[in-house]
């Protein structure tokens, strides 16, 4: 270290930088620039998983009563209503999809992570693939498939006993058929008519149906990471 620069960065300056304050002292200027860049607002590519995360959230709302306190007895009807709303939106968007790209772009309330590159809809929506609504016939069932498969780890069998899956079981024609049915919806099977979620992990191409390539995180209810303290101890 140069003798005339015994201390490139004071502790006080460091603390200011760490708190996100702009610092313009000679020694800290470049450092402040790098830190500002490191904490820049999110870029679209970083938010590519929003649809998948939201889907997992909606699935959790349907299967986890704790997510809707005070509405425990209505959990099933609430999630079905929610999913039906999404379905209606999908149908509406599909009806105008031929000339309704602008509408589709503005209607990004219906993320469909499962069909980002459906060749049947050759018009790329300007809103970006992750938010593009798609004419999936039954997003509700696809969502239930996702929820079911996401929990298909340790409590695989128990998952289907949840009332939230009754619609899925009905549609599949029985509990034993759910796997095959979901595969047929393109949730797991590559090369289905929706040409959708291949199980491979294309990290940037599309939000994957399964966040973990080989694990099913929801299947580990007693996972040690499950309960970080509400207030991390000082």
């Amino acid at each position: 270290m140069n003798a005339y620069e015994p201390r490139p960065l004071s502790a006080e300056t460091a603390e200011l930088l760490l708190d996100g304050h702009p610092v313009a002292t000679r020694h800290a200027q470049r450092l402040a620039q790098r830190l500002a860049a490191a904490s820049a607002p999110g870029f679209p590519g970083e938010l590519a998983g929003e649809a998948a995360a939201t889907n997992a959230f909606l699935a959790a709302v349907g299967t986890n009563p704790a997510l809707s306190p005070g509405r425990r007895t209505m959990t099933k009807s609430a999630v079905v209503a929610k999913l039906l709303t999404l379905k209606a939106a999908a149908v509406a968007v599909a009806a105008v999809s031929a000339g309704g790209v602008a509408l589709a772009a503005s209607t990004n309330v219906l993320p469909n992570p499962f069909a980002p590159a459906n060749p049947a809809h050759s018009t790329p929506a300007p809103g970006g693939p992750t938010n593009r609504p798609d004419a999936t016939p039954s997003p509700s069932l696809v969502g239930l498939c996702t929820a079911y498969l996401a929990g298909a780890g340790a409590d695989h069998g128990k998952a289907l006993e949840s009332p939230a899956f009754s619609a899925l079981i009905t549609a599949a024609g029985g509990k034993d058929n759910v796997d095959a049915y979901c595969a047929g919806r393109g949730v797991t099977a590559p090369g289905s008519t929706h040409s959708t979620s291949e199980p491979s992990e294309h990290p940037t191409g599309q939000p994957t149906t399964h966040p973990g390539p080989s694990e099913h995180p929801t299947g580990e209810p007693s996972h040690p990471t499950g309960e970080p303290t509400t207030h991390p101890a000082p």
């Binding site: 270290m1 590519g45 995360a53 959230f57």
Partner: protein, 214 residues
């Protein structure tokens, strides 16, 4: 914490099953989380972030903290997921090697200015990743995720004083590095001109050589 008062409402909404509130949380926290994870697990950051959000989605119904706490809570989950991931792979934490994920960072709908910004963000994160892991983590939690020293300490399972020291040492080290190599932590000039070079050269943080001066 005032800085994160904005999330209090969203946390409450998400805990009651509100989708829009959950999206608000995702957009607010995911970028920082992903950058933190990139330093912890490198190219697997996307996967670990997805696992993290799956767990957040599942557990937020029981979460009763404040908005500032949510970032810390999310960071704690992410860190546990990352450590599990590394254990699973029997691999040491390493700096990012390939940058395929970042390659998508300047999305198709980004302006050129945004794309360059994204390059700068990437380069800055990789610069931080050159630090010893405890220093890098302390800085990332404080600066990128916006946690205070106490919350960051909770995430790391350390005392706040230790986290302060680690962050300070890390910053001092970076300042020295920048003194010696003013271009360190900047995108390569060629990448700065065209985002399509994004994935080509940004492999490993490395102080710029003098010839690279713009």
């Amino acid at each position: 914490m005032d800085r994160h008062a904005d999330l209090v409402e969203a946390v409450r909404g998400a805990a009651n099953g509100d989708e829009a509130a959950f999206r608000t949380l995702y957009r607010a926290v995911q970028p920082g989380l992903l950058r933190y994870l990139r330093v912890l697990v490198g190219e697997d950051a996307e996967d670990v972030a997805s696992e993290t959000w799956l767990q957040i989605a599942r557990d937020i119904g029981g979460y009763r903290g404040e908005g500032g706490g949510f970032r810390g809570w999310a960071a704690t989950i992410a860190r546990h997921r990352a450590l599990d991931h590394l254990r699973h792979r029997q691999r040491r934490p390493s700096v990012p090697t390939a940058s395929e994920h970042f390659a998508d960072l300047p999305g198709h709908h980004d302006t050129e200015g945004r794309a360059i910004e994204a390059l700068e963000t990437h380069a800055a994160i990789e610069l931080i990743a050159t630090l010893p892991m405890d220093q890098a983590e302390a800085i990332l939690l404080r600066v990128v995720l916006g946690l205070d020293a106490e919350t960051a300490a909770g995430v790391l399972g350390k005392r706040a004083g230790a986290v302060r020291t680690a962050a300070y040492r890390g910053l001092r080290r970076l300042a020295e590095q920048l003194e010696a190599h003013p271009q360190a932590g900047l995108p390569h000039p060629r990448q700065g001109r065209a985002a399509r070079f994004w994935s080509a050269g940004v492999t490993r943080p490395r102080p710029a050589t003098p010839e690279e001066d713009r």
